[in-house]
């Protein structure tokens, strides 16, 4: 029997592949900086090993919970990229072709990414340039591949759908390697007002921590109303003073689109307020209030219209009596006298039983609720919990949010609100996502004053509490 001479060839081939991969990896890690972004970038996301982060994200409890319901959560996006570039993106492919470092940014010119690929993509690009009429000197020239513009800049590859963005990155700032988060995390930086940065870890619960360049009024003692709502609410906010809600508003407003949606939202809300002719809140109305909690215990859905049940609890150091600090809100309109747990209060009706401003008091707390039902559930029924040393706490429960969105989706699907899909398809498309959302547990943000800035930390999806 003849010896198998192909072993030499096989060994050679394997050595070559490993060699190329090693070389590819060596080039990728030799990036002198993290990457580049436009000088006026508003959002900058940086990662020292994006492929690895992506893998860990999939393996985290939140990733697994979501994939339990939606096995391929990025399917649509992957398909689009495959149609446009010929390669379906996966964590491994990202790392082989685009290297380790990632700088993704968004500016007024658009958005896109900057990476430092290994030798494979560089070789492919050289081959492409040789095979086509493109100039061999690729540095700083903007070319197109599919629907994407790209350019090489000091060895970095900039890719975007917007040519102006690519040019802006070429003219932009270098982001140094120093200060990049470790391989298990990405950093998200917002340069607007107020500026903030957050490091998100691809670990169980998706923990994050960061800093917001805004001042928070520190609490004089531990918060006592944390988890005080008798039932698990959709949303709860605990803080020591009203001014801290302004902090939340400033940070939160970038989450709302800054286009006509936001105008429509604001205009509709202002329109309603104008029509309702609520009174002005008196200055210094919150003097004596040492802590406040805002709850959205549930949202009623009727005919597809979501009406939240909301409540605000204002806590004082000692038993409250006299006029409610927010009485001036309803003093110009019709109010009906009411009593909760033997304490006096009033109801100012707005939309029947669904929406009525209810003002009441009990023990050390003033209450303001959006419906009588909510008021009855809360007054005198707040739970006593362990104290929490923080200045602001926000918690959102995904199960309640998923249930709410499911109800809205059902109603709106029946009403044929979404063009391009009928009710059946809409249910088939969205139900797994909403089921996945319900498994994500809780979003938690805790903020603590630190001089002129605020330190934040928490969990994006604390799945463990859902179990």
């Amino acid at each position: 029997m003849k010896p198998f001479k192909g072993w030499y060839f096989l060994l050679f081939a394997i050595t070559c592949v490993f060699g190329v991969l090693l070389l590819n990896e060596w080039v990728a890690v030799s990036a002198p900086a993290a990457g580049y972004c436009p000088a006026d970038a508003q959002f900058i996301i940086t990662s020292s090993d994006f492929g690895y982060f992506w893998t860990l994200l999939y393996l985290s409890d939140a990733g697994l919970a979501l994939r339990h319901e939606v096995p391929l959560p990025l399917k649509d996006w992957e398909l689009v990229v495959r149609h446009e570039t010929g390669i379906r993106p996966t964590p491994i492919r990202w790392r082989v072709w685009l290297g380790r470092n990632l700088v993704a940014s968004k500016s007024s010119e658009g958005f896109g990414i900057c990476v430092y690929p290994g030798v494979l993509l560089r070789a492919l690009e050289l081959g492409r340039r040789l095979a086509t009429s493109l100039s061999l000197d690729s540095n700083d020239s903007v070319d197109m591949f599919g629907n994407y513009y790209y350019a090489w800049h000091n060895g970095y590859l900039i890719v975007s759908r917007f040519k102006s963005f690519v040019l802006a990155v070429q003219r932009g700032n270098e982001i140094p390697k120093k200060g990049l988060p470790d391989r298990t995390a990405i950093e998200i930086r917002y340069t607007g007002e107020p500026a903030w940065n957050v490091t998100l870890y691809a670990k169980n619960g998706l923990p994050y921590q960061g800093v917001v360049q805004a001042r928070l009024v520190p609490a004089t003692g531990p918060l006592t109303l944390v988890h005080a709502c008798p039932e698990r609410p959709l949303l709860s906010v605990n803080t020591s003073c009203w001014a801290n809600l302004q902090f939340l508003r400033n940070v939160g407003k970038i989450l709302i689109f800054k286009d006509d949606w936001r105008s429509l939202l604001g205009e509709s809300w202002c329109h309603l307020l104008g029509k309702w002719q609520l009174g002005q809140i008196q200055p210094n109305w919150d003097v004596g209030v040492t802590e406040l909690a805002f709850f959205v215990p549930s949202v009623d859905i009727t005919d597809g219209v979501p009406v939240p049940n909301m409540a605000l609890v204002l806590r004082s150091p000692r038993r409250v009596f006299g006029e409610h600090p927010l009485k001036s809100l309803v003093s110009d309109g019709i109010v009906l006298p009411m009593e909760w747990e033997g304490s006096p209060g009033v109801i100012a009706p707005l939309f029947g039983d669904r929406l009525a401003l209810c003002l009441g008091q009990f023990d050390r707390d003033w209450y303001l609720a959006s419906s009588e039902k909510t008021m009855a559930r809360l007054v005198g029924n707040l739970k006593r919990n362990t104290l929490l040393e923080t200045d602001l706490l926000v918690e959102l429960y995904y199960e309640q949010l998923g249930t709410l969105l499911q109800s809205v989706m059902e109603a709106w699907a029946d009403a044929q609100f979404i063009p391009g899909k009928n009710a059946e398809e809409l249910r088939a498309d969205l139900t797994p996502w909403l089921a996945g959302m319900k498994r994500l547990g809780r979003f938690r943000l805790s903020a603590k004053a630190r001089g002129s800035e605020t330190a934040i930390d928490g969990f994006l999806a604390e799945c463990s509490i859902a179990e």
């Binding site: 689109f257 604001g266 509709s268 219209v305 019709i334 029947g352 009403a415 063009p419 009710a423």
Partner: protein, 674 residues
């Protein structure tokens, strides 16, 4: 013709549209959840702007199924089918367009004529015109300028009295020989559930439409939308223009099919895309180069270039538009429609409506009787043929396309005064059947929906409680009974008693026990629940009417009497002159119930002063009707009112041609005064 690029573009556009809608769904949630954050920087529109929009159309015509509203310049701004209350297949009102010509957005959501001559296209709505109402339509004589339109033009809009066919005609005098007439249409077929209207109109700016095509090279053009189209329908539409009509019907099943064609010869056509400047039918027609594309889908529009035929008075082009649930049905109706001349249809319509109004009691004065008949015509055209559902007008603005009980009460009184008690009974029993007989959360026994869509479903959100609806209905029922002969009156009241009792109990029970004031109820003007003097008046009127009905039937209701006395005492103290002047409801029912002659004189004097101060047209009509009813038995007052009412008739606002309830009020004023 279409190609794969077109398919891809359409998919991308629809996908973008869908994503926008997802965003809107979440946005509305954000509205309520993040409301606490507020926003002082906002300066855009509001979700409620459609709710409060004034009526901007100049008039409407219809046949109880197909209802068409038009602007003062002759463009069609809405087409409701198969009911005056649902659905709008054009959509100008929904989009809240600014009413100025010269830019393309104006062409979105409307239908109008254009004239092509000397290498230019002039669009008729650019020119002011004088509108004349016909029995089943309207005509518009354009006031041309010598430079841009050097000949006279007349547009006519007609609706067939029985079939769902719309005729639009353009007559041009002394036109150049090579002149071509263009009919442009941005139809947006809507197969959505009408009950979702309130939110759909507010939130979705472009929810409708589906496709536009031609099977016969422009002889007829079709706009359609299947019922509940799936993504398969949207993305895999295919070139079905080669299929037969039966095959197309099988492919897309039922929905809204709108077909238009011309008995004249077509010189060009385009099935275009509204947002694609290269394929847009309006842009192409403006440039005089219709591309003859036979298929477009997504947000479509279309145009037809017509070679006019010579007539005695010049040249004429006619477009006939038919409606159906299937393509086969719509084409069959179109074929019939095309077989008649416009004059034949106008004669048939005149004769039909003449017959409909046969036996109505109108004034002996010819001028007054013509207006009275026009008022009744307006009322009947806004009434659904089979169900007696009445809308103010077939337009989205101000949600005039919903049914409301107060409108039914006014309409019923007008019909009773006209001797058409069967019509009146139709309007009222439709609402009395909606009185709730079960006590449900947020829907107490005896209450009524705030408004309903003409398919009988309550409008969304249904949890709003508008208690004055109950008072209006009870008054309407009692008032109607007074016009019936004795035997019929008792039978009518007996038939209604179960509902009347529930409604009366509601007005008795739904009260603040301490203040004896009605519990707050929703008031659209304030966008919230209020308990004010207007609500108290409606309670007093309603309970008073219920008591009279009970008395007529020999039923004793001492608790109602006691409560009614409480209300009367409270009202007497609250009704100051300045308060009376502020009230925005008719007061005659109250005076009728209270029977207080002194109060009657006071109210009459205050209201007549208010009229002199000049309020807006719809309010004036309400006050006029109110005054005329108050003055009913006093010749001196009636004498004084006559010139005022005549002035209103001659003022030319012709509100009664665009608002059926305004028409009912004018009829009441005329019938009472003359």
């Amino acid at each position: 013709m279409f190609d794969s690029r077109v398919i891809l573009e359409t998919i991308i556009k629809e996908s973008t549209l869908r994503k926008a809608c997802y965003a809107r769904v979440f946005f509305v949630l954000a509205l309520v959840l993040l409301a606490c954050l507020g926003n002082s920087e906002a300066d855009g529109g509001s979700l409620f702007s459609v709710w409060e929009a004034p009526l901007v159309h100049a008039g409407f015509v219809g046949n109880g199924r197909l209802s068409v509203a038009f602007s003062e310049r002759g463009e069609i701004v809405s087409i409701f089918w198969p009911s005056p209350g649902f659905n709008d297949h054009v959509g100008t009102g929904r989009r809240g367009q600014k009413r100025s010509f010269g830019d393309k957005p104006y062409a979105d959501g409307s239908l109008f004529w254009g004239i092509r001559f000397d290498n230019q296209t002039v669009w008729c709505p650019k020119f002011p015109s004088v509108c004349t109402f016909l029995p089943a339509g309207a005509s518009f004589s354009l006031i041309p300028s010598s430079e841009s339109l050097p000949f006279s033009v007349r547009q006519t809009i007609l609706v067939h009295p029985i079939l769902d066919v719309l005729y639009t005609v353009l007559d041009v005098k002394e036109a150049p020989k090579d002149c071509r007439l263009i009919w442009y249409g941005d139809l947006n077929p809507n197969s959505r559930k009408p009950s979702a209207g309130l939110w759909a109109e507010s939130i979705l700016s472009e929810p409708d439409d589906f496709a536009c095509f031609s099977l016969d090279s422009g002889k007829s053009l079709v706009h359609f939308r299947p019922a509940d189209p799936s993504s398969g329908d949207w993305s895999d539409i295919g070139d079905f223009t080669q299929l037969t009509t039966e095959q197309i019907d099988k492919k897309f099943k039922n929905g809204v099919w709108i077909v238009y064609g011309t008995p004249n010869s077509a010189a060009g056509y385009q099935c275009g895309m509204r947002h694609d400047s290269d394929r847009c039918a309006f842009m192409q027609a403006s440039q005089g180069r219709l591309a003859r594309e036979s298929l477009a889908w997504g947000q479509t529009n279309s145009a037809l270039e017509i070679v006019p035929v010579s007539t005695e008075n010049g040249s004429r082009a006619t477009v006939v538009t038919s409606f159906g649930e299937t393509l086969t049905g719509a084409l069959r109706v179109l074929e019939q429609g095309l077989s008649w001349s416009v004059e034949e249809v106008a004669r048939a319509a005149a004769s039909y409506w003449e017959h409909e109004l046969l036996g109505t009691i109108v004034s002996a004065d010819e001028h007054i009787s013509v207006v009275q008949r026009q008022c009744l015509l307006s009322l009947r055209m806004a009434t659904e043929r089979y169900t007696n559902a009445l809308v103010r007008a077939p337009v989205i603005e101000g949600f005039a396309h919903f049914e409301r009980p107060q409108d039914a009460a006014w309409a019923a009184l007008a019909c009773d005064l006209a001797g058409k008690t069967d019509w009146a009974a139709g309007y009222l029993t439709r609402w009395s059947n909606k009185v709730r007989l079960e006590d449900l959360p947020e829907k107490p026994r005896g209450s009524l929906p705030i408004a309903v869509s003409t398919d009988n479903t309550e409008i969304v959100p249904s949890f709003l409680l508008k208690a004055d609806n109950v008072g209006n209905l009870l008054w309407g029922l009692w008032e109607h009974a007074a016009y019936l002969p004795n035997d019929k009156r008792l039978a009518f009241l007996k038939e209604q008693w179960e509902r009347v009792e529930a409604a009366g109990d509601f007005l008795f029970l739904w009260v603040d026990p301490l203040k004896k004031m009605p519990l707050p109820s929703f008031k659209p003007k304030s966008m919230r629940d209020v308990s004010d003097i207007e609500l108290l008046i409606s309670y007093t009127v309603g309970l008073g009417a219920a008591l009279r009905i009970a008395e007529a039937l020999g039923v004793s209701k001492p608790e109602w009497t006691e409560r009614q006395d409480d209300y009367a005492v409270l009202l007497t103290s609250l009704l100051t002159d300045s308060k009376i002047a502020e009230l925005e409801i008719g007061l005659w029912p109250l005076l009728d119930v209270l029977g207080d002659e002194v109060l009657n004189r006071r109210v009459f004097d205050v209201r007549i002063r208010e009229l002199d101060r000049g309020t807006y047209a719809s309010k004036r009509l309400e006050i006029l009707a109110d005054l005329a009813l108050m003055a009913d038995r006093e010749p001196q007052r009636l004498e004084g009112l006559r010139p005022i009412v005549l002035r209103e008739v001659d003022a030319g606002s012709e509100l009664w041609r665009r608002d059926s309830v305004g028409a009912a009020k004018l009829f009441i004023a005329l019938a009472s005064v003359f």
